[in-house]
Structures are given as C-alpha cells and as structure tokens.
Amino acid sequence: MHQTESWGSYMQPRTSLGDPLERIARLASENAVVIFSISSCCMCHAIKRLFCGMGVNPTVYELDEDPRGKEMERALMRLLGGSSAVPVVFIGGKLVGAMDRVMASHINGSLVPLLKEAGALWL
C-alpha cells in the first residue's frame, strides 16, 4: 500500500498528461470495488446504496469534483458506448458496467462471487 502510494505520487506527473482511460484503469485497479460517479447523479446514488446494502464498501470517485473529471467522463462514455458515462463499476480492476449490467449480474447471481473473489465480501 505504502509502495503503490509512493509510486503513484511518482507516476502522477506522467499520467497527468496521459490518457484518461489509463488513469481510469489505474484507479480501478487500486481497490476491490471502484465506482465512477457524479455527485448530482441519482442513479449513481442508487448504485452506491446497492453496494452498501450488500455490505460492500466501494471506492467512489466523483468526476465532477476531479480536475480531470471532464475528460474521464468523455472517455468513459466512449468506453461504455452509451448515453451516460456514470455510474460505472469496476470490480477487481475489471469493468463490470453501468447500472443495468450490475443489476443483471446481481440478479443472476454472478455479482456476489465476483465480489468475494475481489475480496470485497467475506460472508
């Protein structure tokens, strides 16, 4: 943890000029559950509540509070191919998707094993 932090701080000047997607990928891999959100978005609020309700403690990045949030938002929109960039969820560094994908995976029972695998859930 300590090492990555120092590395992260060392790496920062490089990635600030770099691809927003790369930043996204980096941020996503840092924690078990990572959610990119916008503070005023209600669907993001819903997805946060979903994970909290399951007993998961997700890492949330509010893009409207990030200086490079705008470009990340655009990158995410391109990544998802949809009309909305947020919310988007990464579990164990891997992209899960927006609200519909997350909910579908939860209903069909694939979300919980994924969370357990990533170490976000112990029960």
């Binding site: 669907m43 819903a46 509540r49 979903l50 309700g53 909910m103 939860h106 209903i107 069909n108 029972g109």
Partner: protein
C-alpha cells in the same frame, strides 16, 4: 197501439238499414284488421272463425276464454234455447263496460224470460258484461249500442273484429249484431295481447341487438382509425415535426394523451393474449402433457413477458409520467405498484410454497434471488428518493435578487437543471422494468419446466384476482 207497431216497423227498417250499412263498413274494417293481424303472424282469427261458425256452437269460445267460460256457456245456452228467435244475437264474451248500463236494463225489460235470465246473469257478471239481445224493441238501443260498439271495436283487438265479421255472415238473418265488449276482447285478446307483447319483445330485442352490433362496429372502426392516426403522429414527430408540447397546454395534453392511449390499447391487447397463453398452459398442466411440450408453452409465456417490457420501454420514451402513474392498471394494482410495475421481490413472496418440492440448490437459488431482488429494489427506491429530493432543492431554491433579467435567467437555469433531473426518471423506470424482467428470467432458470409453469400460473392468478378485487371494490354498494 197500431201506430206504435207501425212506428216500430218503420224504425225497424231504418235501423236495419243503418245496421247493414254499418255492418258493411265494419266488415271492411274487419277485413283490413284481419289482414294486418295476419301479417303480424297471429292466428287467433282462424280460431275465432271456427268458433263462430254457428250460432249453436257458441259454447266453443268457452275453452278459449277461461274467465268468461261460465257465463259464456250460460249465455250461449240461453241463446241456443232461443235459437229460433230471429233476433237472437250471438255475442262474444267480452262486453263493453259502457254498454252494460245502457243495454242490460233495456234487455231485461224488453226480452223474454230467457233473455231476462241472461241479462241478469250478465248483469251479475258485472262490468265485464253487457249484451244486446235481438229484439224488435231493443234494436233501437241496440243499433245505438251497435254504433257505439263499432267505435269501441275499432279500439280493441283487430282479430275480434274478424270474428264479428264472420259471425255477421254466419248468423245474421236479420238483426244479429255482434256485440263486443272489452271483457270478451280481454278474454280473447288476453292471449292475443300476451302473444303480441311477446312478439313485440322479440322484435325489440332483435332491434336492440342490431343496434348494439352497429355500435360495436362503429367503435371498432373508430379504434382502428385512432391507432392509425397515432401512428401517423408518431412518424411525424420522429421526423422532427415540431408539435408544441408541454408549454402550450392543450396541444401537449392531447399528444401525450394519444401516446398514453396507444400504450393502454397495446397493454389491453397484451393482457388478452397473456390470458390466452396462460389458459393454454393451465390446460396443458391439467392434461399431463410431456415436459418438452410444456417447455414450449412456458417459453411462449416468457417471450410474451419480454414483449410487455418492450412495450413499456417504448411507452416510457413517449410518456414517462403515464407509465409511472400506472393509469393503465386497475386501481388496486396501482396502489401496490412500484416504479411503474410489480415488485420483483413480491413476485417470489407470491410464489411462496407453490413451488415445493425444491432441491437444496433450487432453494438456495430462490433465496438468493429473493435477497438480490430486494436489494436492487431498495437501491432503486433510494435513488428515486434522491431524485425527488434534488428536484425539491432545485425547484424550491429561491434566487431572490433584484427584479429583472437576473431572476429570469436564474429561473430558466433552474428549470433546465430540473428538466435534466426529470430525464433520469426514464432511466429509473427502465432499470425497474429490467429488474422485473431479470427476476422472471432467473426464476425460469432456477426452476424445472413444470415448476416454472406452476409459478407462471400462480403469478397470473394473483394478478387476475387483484384486478377482480379492484372491480369488486369499485362496484361495491355504498351506504
């Protein structure tokens, strides 16, 4: 005395002429009425003809007119006693009440003992009777009464008139005049009236059925036309045709009303088809069909469910508030609705024990499904609450500043933000429908074919009962 007799004679002749003239007129009228009566399909006249063929057979009417039987028989017998009398009058059973008071006393006074008896008898019969018996003296009044009766006869049933005509022919060799009173017509036309009434009822029912058919046809045409218009409108809208909506009240209303109505129409059609599929499934279950065939039916029902979600998605794009309002559902359904549809967690609660027996794996799957659907539901509900809260914040933010353009700009800005928030409503509705669809699909995956069939039947029955409850509630007697 002589003078009196001569006077009577003259009178008699004159009267006879009158009577003949009236009889002819009467005949013509009877003919006409008979013709009309026949057209109506009544065959009473034929009966009457046989009845009144012979004066001596006056008793024949008796079986036809029950309530006048006794009297008729007696009076007939009286007449047959006096059959030799040229002035004998055969009378039908019914008598005009108006005639009673005028005729009967005269008859009693002028006729013989037999007539007296008859008269008395008839008089005793009361309002139902009046008779005129042929006699020299009574012809005068008789003629009068005949005239009166003629007019009366025109009011009563036409078939009786036919009888009178026949009677005239058959009986009259002098002064036979058919007296017809209301009572007889009541007796005779008692049946006749009933039959006529029945015929009229049939006619009325037939007409009403035709009217209903025409109306339904008209409704169907209008409905078809309406859907056509809606489709045209939809196409025009998509092509960027600007139709004022929202701000210009009426226009907006009618257009969203149209699209909402289009969905309502589609939904009702979907529901009919759904019930049909469910019934097929039910009969299949009861007939112990093979699992493979059952699976086809189950898959059919599931595919049909996908159809409604597709319709709802289109409907939400057109009018999200209509979908959320649930006006396309019955009141009871609407009351327990969640985000434009049923609660997916409730679905499994409805199934309850109906799915037994379940394997351990199935049981775990169902429990997990119950839990996950509940969690997803809660998440979406909280998201909706957040949306409402932010809308409240946006709309209630008072930007009190100096009057002027600043306020307007603020107002428009806030409105723009609020519009953006409203746009997410569609997303929430979409997610809720997805949740419902996925819950159904997961249930289908966990269960065997037969269990899935039973589950679908149980869910459908529950919905039907809820709808029926709604109707019962609406139709309940109020205090």
């Amino acid at each position: 005395m002589g003078f009196f007799r001569n006077y009577l004679r003259g009178k008699e002749i004159i009267m006879r002429m009158f009577i003949y003239a009236f009889s002819v007129l009467f005949l013509l009228f009877c003919l006409f009425s008979c013709w009309v009566g026949k057209k109506r399909g009544e065959d009473i006249s034929s009966r009457n003809q046989t009845r009144f063929a012979d004066l001596g057979e006056l008793h024949q009417p008796a079986p036809v007119f029950p309530h006048d039987d006794a009297v008729d028989l007696s009076s007939s017998s009286m007449f047959s006693l006096k059959s030799g009398n040229a002035t004998a009058v055969s009378h039908n059973l019914s008598y005009a009440t108006a005639l009673n008071t005028s005729i009967v006393p005269v008859e009693i006074a002028t006729t013989g003992a037999g007539c007296l008896d008859t008269g008395q008898y008839m008089y005793q019969k009361g309002t139902g009777f009046g008779s005129s018996l042929g006699n020299g003296q009574s012809i005068e009044t008789w003629g009068d009464s005949g005239m009166a009766e003629n007019s009366q006869q025109t009011d009563t049933s036409t078939d009786v008139d036919a009888d009178d005509k026949n009677q005239l022919y058959g009986v009259q060799h002098g002064t036979a005049v058919i007296v017809e009173s209301v009572d007889q017509s009541k007796g005779k036309t008692g049946d006749r009236k009933t039959l006529r009434r029945l015929a009229q009822n049939r006619e009325a029912a037939r007409k009403s059925r035709l009217r209903k058919k025409a109306y339904v046809q008209q409704l169907e045409n209008s409905r078809h036309r309406l859907t056509q218009l809606e489709q045209e409108l939809q196409r025009a809208r998509q092509q960027g045709f600007f139709i004022a909506s929202g701000f210009s009240g009426d226009h907006g209303h009618s257009i969203t009303g149209n699209e909402a109505f289009a969905f309502d129409l589609d939904y009702s059609r979907w529901l009919d088809e759904h019930h049909r599929l469910i019934n097929d499934l039910r009969t299949a279950m009861n007939s112990h069909m093979s699992d493979d065939e059952l699976r086809l039916l189950v898959d059919g029902v599931m595919a049909h469910y996908d159809e409604i979600f597709r319709l709802k998605s289109n409907g939400a794009k057109a009018d999200v508030f209509h979908m959320l309002s649930g006006m396309w559902k019955t009141p009871a359904e609407r009351c327990f609705m969640w985000l434009g549809g049923f609660r997916s967690s409730e679905l499994l609660k409805i199934l309850g024990n109906h799915l037994e027996p379940l394997t351990d794996q199935q049981l775990m799957g169902i429990c997990n499904l119950q839990q996950s659907s509940q969690q997803a539901e809660d998440a979406l509900s909280q998201g909706m609450e957040a949306l409402q809260q932010s809308l409240v914040d946006t709309l209630s933010s008072t930007s009190l500043g100096p009057a002027g353009s600043g306020n307007v700009a603020d107002y428009m800005g806030q409105m723009a933000i609020a519009m953006g928030k409203l746009a997410t409503l569609e997303n929430f509705l979409h997610q809720a429908d997805l949740l419902r669809q996925q819950t159904l699909q997961q249930m289908h995956r966990i269960l065997t074919t037969r269990q899935a069939a039973r589950a679908l039947l149980v869910v459908s029955d529950y919905t039907s009962r809820l709808r029926a409850l709604s109707s019962l509630w609406l139709a309940r007697p109020r205090d």
